[in-house]
Amino acid sequence: MTSVLVVDDDPDVCDLVTYKLEQSGFDVRRASDGDAALREVAKKVPDLVLLDVMMPGVSGLEVLERWRSDETTAGMPVIMLTAKAQENDVERGFELGADDYVIKPFSPRELVRRVTAVLSRRQSV
């Protein structure tokens, strides 16, 4: 089963995303902040990460930067979760190597579509 890590400090968002992904057949792990995310990835590298950009403490972008500078996680697919009108964050995320982004409020169905799209893109490469 493909494993996905969901990183968001809002438990409601985590609930929604986790449920939808599990329903679609993914194996989902959760992390509620940057440090927890780093720990989870260190334990086992997931097949894809859904990463909230704005989190208290270590921000999503910082976490992404750390992953990209580490060999084991440099190629890990990452989709950013961001609020509306955060162009700067989105730009920065792409600069750091994110694969796609989803704006909150989001459509769970579309999110799953994006996840599968990114995964299949990666596989065909």
């Binding site: 704005m54 208290p56 403490g57 270590v58 921000s59 609020a83 509306k84 009108a85 955060q86």
Partner: protein, 487 residues
């Protein structure tokens, strides 16, 4: 002797009457505010903060952090500021002649390199800017090295001169801001951009709280005597600050609070003043005066949601210095703006708020000590009956404790930031302990500050980082007398 006896008794009754009056006035305001706070307990839900975060209408903010010799704290502080949730903002750290590794730490932490920057001279400042630095990765940080040591006000003014954005906020290095603090305090500016010129938010005491990555994650009240009392004090001040005062739009913020100003108005009134600790109190009075003179409709908002936590002194010496300084600043501010007091031309600020500050804040220091002296002497000399003394204790001190208790209960029933029973118990204890000795000590410190202001004495202390080294008013004069349209 009968004359002396009558005088002593007269004073005794005056003191009792004064305190009954003072406390009753406070009670009225507190009760109103407490009532609203409790009803609004769930109000945070209406705050609409996620919308503000996503809103392109949120006005960009320049955060200014004046520092001197803070090598240990500076990296964490700055990181904490950079991590705040807000659509667009910049952080400007002004290193005011640090003699230690403050700049070196910043340079290492953020990869600073020197850059060109044109800094306006809108606000008069003392001391030259030596260099300006920015991080190599292009994040929104600017570090200005300035010739010092100057007064903190100069450092703040340099920061404002370098600021890019329409709103400015001076941040205290000893303060921890919640991640959503900027969103919270920017709300009044978004809702009423035409009139709001300044907004301040309630602050709480950080001592004893659990802090992670520069944020207060679990508020707690530190043990001891001084800290819980200050925690209760801050609860009372911020409660007084809401509803009661802010409706009067004559709100004067708590010293050391967290305030955001419109940059053009800040510049219009001449920026931070040296005599005011780069401070908010005198700045607010000046804004009232200037904008009234200009006949521009304006509003100073107060945001009651706690979003800023400050580290308060926990030793007698530091606390004494701080309170003396505040008292001195208040005295100086009131003196400089004495034309406003009881002047109907300045509306409620002049007729109500300033006189109240004069009578109840400044004068109360004198009366508190007078009361102690009079009652002690009177009791010892047998001029005053124990009944009268008892009356003073209950009507003066007990009443005061009751007020603080109301504030603690209001917090408990509304924001509920303190979760544990221990914290609640400590605050209740503090409410009582405050009147049993702290108030009198506090009055003594304030009296010293007042005396210092009157005698224009330069304080021998100034060891608190960033504290201004000189006393005496030397207010910034605007570089140009330009008129600003306050819409």
């Amino acid at each position: 002797m009968p004359v002396a006896a009558a005088t002593v008794r007269g004073f005794a009754w005056f003191c009792i009457g004064y305190f009954v009056l003072l406390n009753s006035a406070s009670l009225m305001l507190l009760a109103l505010a407490a009532g609203q706070a409790v009803m609004d307990g769930g109000r945070e839900r209406f705050a609409g903060l996620p919308e503000i975060f996503a809103s392109p209408l949120a006005p960009p903010i320049s955060l200014i952090l004046p520092v001197r010799d803070m090598a240990d704290l500076i990296a964490g502080s700055t990181r904490g500021l950079l991590g705040l949730r807000y659509p667009e903002f910049e952080v400007i750290v002004v290193d005011d002649g640090s003699t230690d590794a403050t700049f070196a730490r910043l340079q290492a932490e953020f990869g600073l390199i020197p850059v060109d920057k044109v800094i306006r001279d809108e606000l008069a400042t003392a001391g030259r800017v030596i260099s300006v630095h920015a991080p190599r990765d292009g994040s929104n940080l600017l570090v200005i090295r300035k010739q010092g040591p100057g007064r903190r006000a100069d450092a703040v003014n340099v920061g404002v001169n370098a600021a890019r954005h329409p709103l400015v906020c001076r941040v205290d290095p000893a303060a921890y801001l919640d991640a959503d603090a900027l969103l919270t305090v920017a709300k009044p500016f978004i809702e009423d951009p035409a009139r709001v010129v300044a907004a301040s938010a309630a602050i709480r005491v950080a001592n004893g709280s659990r802090i992670q990555a520069g944020r207060v994650t679990r508020p707690r009240v530190a043990g001891g005597w001084l800290v819980p009392i200050q925690a209760a004090e801050y609860l009372r001040s911020s409660l007084l600050g809401r509803t009661g005062w802010s409706r009067l739009s004559g709100m004067l913020p708590i010293p050391g609070g967290f305030s955001v100003y419109r940059r053009d108005v800040y510049e219009l009134v001449g920026g931070s003043s040296a005599g005011g600790d780069g401070g908010d109190l005198e700045m607010t009075i000046r804004i009232h005066q200037r904008l009234r003179d200009e006949r521009q409709p304006y509003r100073i908002a107060f945001v009651p949601e706690p979003c800023c936590w400050t580290v308060v002194p926990h030793t007698y010496r530091r606390l004494a210095q701080q309170r003396a300084r505040w008292s001195r600043n208040l005295a100086v501010a009131l003196w400089v703006h004495r034309a406003m007091i009881f002047n109907a031309g300045y509306g409620k600020a002049g007729l109500l708020v300033l006189p109240c500050y004069l009578v109840f804040e400044l004068v109360s220091a004198v009366v508190e000590l007078l009361a102690v002296a009079v009652f002690a002497a009177g009791l010892a000399l047998g001029l005053i009956g124990p009944g009268v003394v008892l009356l003073f204790v209950t009507a003066g001190l007990g009443y005061g404790a009751f007020l603080t208790l109301v504030s603690v209960i209001a917090e408990e029933l509304s924001y509920r930031r303190y979760h544990s029973w221990r914290d609640f118990a400590l605050l209740v204890y503090a409410a009582v302990a405050e009147s049993a000795g702290f108030r009198q000590l506090h009055a003594w410190w304030r009296l010293r500050g007042l005396a210092g202001a009157v005698l224009r004495r330069r304080p021998a202390w100034a060891t608190e980082p960033g504290a201004e080294g000189q006393s005496g008013p030397a207010f910034g004069v605007p570089a140009s007398g330009r008129h600003v349209h306050v819409r």
